[in-house]
């Protein structure tokens, strides 16, 4: 029986797909059979971030419409044997995702996978609500910025009321906060909401903080999940996130300004 994790945010451009790609890869690296599904029908991008855009033959909607079976549509990652990608359809409209269809695909995947990561589209329309409906856990990706925090809170309301767990009275979805594009320097200057500020507003369990990093764009340019760039700050931060999710006690990093040498300290605290 697989555990289903939705990566959600409400607002676009905060790092859902980057996170889905990194997190799924991280779980697979730890030996878990992991599938990552792109729910953004019409605007697929997970394939590009994962670097498998030229290997897409069948997609999620084909499987839902029973035009292809799961084995035909799942793309096995070239770097990691345990990792499979189910791309979204680029040509269909958002209404192609049906409740019954998504439920059937998730059920079939659950039989052979340990984790299923659902990469939600932005917004609160069908793709987004279906991505979260069947979830056991939710990673709420948030930027330290007013509109993102507000949208995250809105998503928390939807997670608590319009999910399978909420409707069947089961144990609620476990919600985790992932703060991305964080700049400790700007926080120190009073220009950016701090981790503590965001946590105080959303009152969520903090899964990790991903610093604003050049490595993220470099990784997406190359089609390599940033978690594979183990030397980079963002890569390390995502590795920590996966360890914390799996229950390890890992202290948070990249939330304080790095210590600098004498010369830089003279000019800037």
């Amino acid at each position: 029986m697989a555990r289903i994790i939705v990566v959600t945010s409400g607002k676009g451009g905060v790092g859902k797909t980057t996170t889905s790609a990194a997190f799924a890869t991280g779980l697979a690296l730890r030996g878990f059979r992991t599938a990552v599904i792109d729910f953004d029908v019409g605007l697929r991008n997970l394939d590009l971030i994962m670097g498998c855009e030229r290997r897409v033959v069948y997609d999620f909607v084909n499987v839902i419409n029973q035009e292809a079976n799961l084995n035909q549509a799942l793309i096995r990652d070239k770097r990691c044997d345990n990792l499979f990608i189910l791309p979204a359809s680029q040509t269909r409209d958002k209404e192609s995702l049906t409740h019954e269809g998504v439920e059937r695909v998730l059920k079939e995947l659950s039989e052979t996978f340990d984790y299923i990561v659902c990469d939600s589209p932005a917004g609160i329309e069908r793709g987004a609500t279906l991505a979260m409906y069947f979830a056991d856990d939710a990673i709420v990706v948030t930027n330290p910025e007013v509109s993102s925090v507000r949208d995250s809170d809105r998503m928390l309301g939807i997670l608590a009321s319009k999910s399978r767990r909420a409707e069947t009275g089961a144990e609620p979805i476990k919600e985790y906060l992932l703060l991305t594009r964080y700049s400790p320097q700007r926080v120190k200057l009073g220009e950016m909401l701090s981790v503590d500020d965001v946590q105080e507003i959303l009152s969520l369990h903090l899964l990790g903080v991903i610093p604003e990093s050049k490595a993220v764009l470099n990784a997406s340019n190359a089609g390599t999940p940033v978690i594979l760039d183990e030397k980079s700050d963002a890569g390390k931060a995502y590795l920590d996130v996966v360890r914390r999710y799996l229950g390890e006690n890992v202290p948070h990093r990249f939330i304080e300004v790095e210590k600098k040498g004498f010369i830089s300290r003279l000019f800037r605290g």
């Binding site: 007013v146 809170d153 309301g157 009073g190 220009e191 950016m192 909401l193 003279l266 800037r268």
Partner: protein
């Protein structure tokens, strides 16, 4: 604090403003979200009943739901027209 910070006369404290705005907004939106969804319907039907007996306007009635630690308060507020000005009929249920 570095040497240059000392000379910086205006410090940017926009994050504090952002936090305050968000706290107010999020509290308000959470209260809205927790309202039962039958309130608009209830308001409409109550208005129809009242209009059978009293000639009141479309916006003469407001129904609100508030919640504190141990009780929910459904508040119904009806403004009745009167020659000498407005008369208010108010009922509270705990």
């Amino acid at each position: 604090m570095g040497l240059l910070d000392y000379f910086r006369s205006t410090r940017n404290e926009s994050a504090a403003i952002a936090k305050e705005r968000l706290q107010i907004l999020v509290a308000h939106e959470r209260a809205e979200r927790n309202k039962p969804d039958y309130l608009p319907m209830l308001q409409k039907e109550l208005l129809e009943v009242i209009r059978k007996y009293v000639n009141v306007g479309q916006d003469a009635i407001t129904v609100t739901m508030e919640q504190d630690e141990n009780r929910e308060i459904l508040e119904l507020n009806v403004v009745l027209p009167d020659e000498g000005g407005e008369r208010r009929l108010r009922r509270k249920r705990v």
